[in-house]
């Protein structure tokens, strides 16, 4: 059976386009594109959990925030250069995610949703707490400097473009790792656990370990995205990481299409661009338009953008 070349071509086109884009568009649009790339990493993390592992999370905003704060605190005290804070943020989030996943994996469906929801709500409160104020800056937050391109590249690239390419590298690396994870043994084990948990356990798959590890990995990706997001915005505060962030991520993953790497990119594009489009359509009730668009898309594409692409490809092939 001949494997379709379409995905490979799409990826190649996207990569080339991605490398050229910042030179062809304005600084502001580069900024927006960087935000989309960052969300694409965050969504990859959530997708790992919901798409491949079948667990639900309403709390990934918490990991995004923890990653952001980890990077911000390290940078603020000048303990690490900015590029080193990102993997550290990822590691911290892996630990938190794994630790959270261990007890949480006993819960299912709406109960797991509540547990993750609790995490999302609790995190800003904890970040604001007086006891941690010395590190987190409390309600005032932490200001960060924008990373400047290193010596050689300082000429041709400005700060916006440098950050863009940094994020692009992280996107490619994350997706390559994610792709391999999903194609390999781990991926098959996860899908088995998702679809037939009892059979999977009977076959000797250590469900608990896989589920917790998945939680950890999922948190790690989102934490890396959070760290990059902190560098992009240049500021972290508890108000930046409300439950709305978690809900936004969930919307992105479902609209993009679960268990699809390309779908993530579409989902990230959606959650950044569509609210702006909605504002253009209606000044008085833009969010009502956004909500209506969401519902419409879910009715027309119940399996998200990627699901629709698959359906079309299946019909063709």
């Amino acid at each position: 059976m001949k494997k379709s070349r379409a995905p490979a071509i799409t990826v190649a086109v996207l990569l080339v386009g991605g490398c050229v884009a910042p030179f062809a568009i304005s600084s502001f649009h580069t900024f927006q594109l960087t935000q989309i790339l960052i969300y694409a990493i965050a969504l990859l993390g959530l997708n790992l959990l919901t798409g491949y592992s079948g667990q639900i999370s309403l709390g990934h905003g918490a990991f995004y925030g923890i990653g952001a704060y980890a990077a911000a605190i390290l940078l603020d005290h000048a303990w690490l250069p900015y590029w080193a804070t990102i993997p550290v943020a990822g590691a911290v989030c892996f630990a938190v995610g794994f630790g959270f996943g261990l007890p949480a994996l006993r819960l299912e469906g709406p109960y797991l949703a509540l547990a993750t929801f609790a995490l999302a709500i609790a995190t800003p409160q904890i970040l604001k707490h007086d006891a941690l104020e010395k590190w987190t800056g409390g309600v005032q937050g932490i200001l960060l400097d924008k990373p400047e391109p290193p010596g050689l590249l300082a000429g041709p690239l400005d700060a916006d473009q440098w950050l863009y390419f940094l994020c692009l590298v992280f996107v490619v690396v994350s997706y390559v790792i994610g792709w391999n994870l999903v194609r390999g043994r781990t991926g098959r084990a996860l899908i088995a656990i998702r679809d037939q948990p009892i059979a999977a356990a009977a076959m000797g798959i250590d469900t608990a370990l896989y589920k917790s590890t998945t939680f950890g990995l999922s948190a790690m990706y989102t934490g890396v995205a959070g760290a990059l997001g902190a560098l992009l915005t240049g500021f972290v505060s508890p108000d930046s990481f409300t439950i709305l962030v978690s809900i936004n991520f969930l919307v992105g993953v479902v609209v993009g299409g679960m268990a699809s790497i390309l779908g993530n990119l579409f989902g990230a594009l959606f959650i950044v661009i569509v609210p702006n489009i909605a504002s253009d359509i209606s000044e008085s009730a833009p969010w009502a338009i956004y909500g209506a668009l969401l519902i419409l898309i879910m009715i027309l594409m119940p399996r998200g953008f990627a699901g629709m692409v698959r359906a079309v490809a299946a019909r063709r092939g």
């Binding site: 304005s26 600084s27 502001f28 900024f31 927006q32 935000q35 709500i121 409160q125 604001k128 409390g138 309600v139 005032q140 937050g141 200001l143 997001g229 992009l232 915005t233 240049g234 500021f235 505060s237 508890p238 108000d239 930046s240 409300t242 709305l244 504002s279 833009p286 969010w287």
Partner: protein, 399 residues
Amino acid sequence: MSRRTGLMATLALLTIGGTAAAQKSPGVTSTEIKIGQTMPYSGPASAYGVIGKTALAYFKMVNEKGGVAGHKINLISLDDGYAPPKAVEQTRKLVESEGVAFIFNALGTATNSATQRYLNKKGIPQLFVATGADKWSDPKGNRWTMGWQPSYRQEARVYARYIQQSKPDATICVLYQNDDFGKDYIAGLKDVFKDAYKKKVVKEASYEVTDPTLDSQVVNLKAAGCNTLVTAATPKFAAQAIRKVHDIGWKPLHFMTNVSVSVAAVMQPAGLEKGVGIITGAYLKDPTDPAFKNDPAMLEWRAFMKKYMPGAPESDVNNVYGYAVSETLIQVLKQCGSDFSRDNVIKQAASLKGFKPSLALPGLEINTSGSDYRPFSQMQLAKFNGKSFERFGSVISGD
């Protein structure tokens, strides 16, 4: 780059440059001044979106009268949902895509903190930020950023000094919203009481914006046995607090943040008789105060509301605030003459001398200078008598 490309590029630049010649400085043409702001039109702080709407209406009125020095004011007001990352995105859009001259009256401490560095680096005035946080007056470090209203910290200091004078043995409780707004009041009290803070303030209780009620906190505070209460709460919660304090039979000397003293939006829902005795530090005229019923400025404001914001409740202090701050901006622009460059705008904003916004309390005036970026630093204490807030004493400085 080949010669041909170079030629094309030069031609393009010249054409753009040609049209840009009509632009005298960023955001300014011979007929228009384009300015921008971000406001929370959605999300937890959506109640304050009214301020943006009022500003839009005010400038519409000004434009119909001819604008300033023949220039119409074009305010572009974008939603940031009170989220700092969104505020950064929208502000960059305003500056880079829309090309605004400066940012006016953007709302929120966190949101403005996020955009402050960017705007100051680019030399764009961040004028009259709509937040009472104290940190906006920093002419040396952030010379493009200026606040407008008396800061919450200053207000708390006024209360603290009053307590020291009139009730030196007071035991104080603080009920505050757990964010920069609420915490600024604690900072202000600490400023005045210094080391005696721990002795004088026996208990603090905070609440989150997502809390359904703060009844539990109020009961908690009463149990601590204080005879004085300082409440830093937004309108809905302020009404709950006033009502609960009364209902559980507690009669402390009660200070309320001037953000939440609208008679119709706070005192009435709470129950007019329950709020008797509450003290606040006011700086703007309350539309429901019978003392201003026939005040000419008030009448003008009412006419404005009727014509340009029909259907809006007249009891919302946000409308007064929006009107007053927009009026202040027009004064700055008038002082600019015909030079609306960014440099001159901030210079004129820092040169307001004895300016009395029409809706400011009598006796109060705005003063700024190169070293003093606090337009309003005075207020007057007022006590609620069951119908309105009666001003007493003299105008006090919050410094």
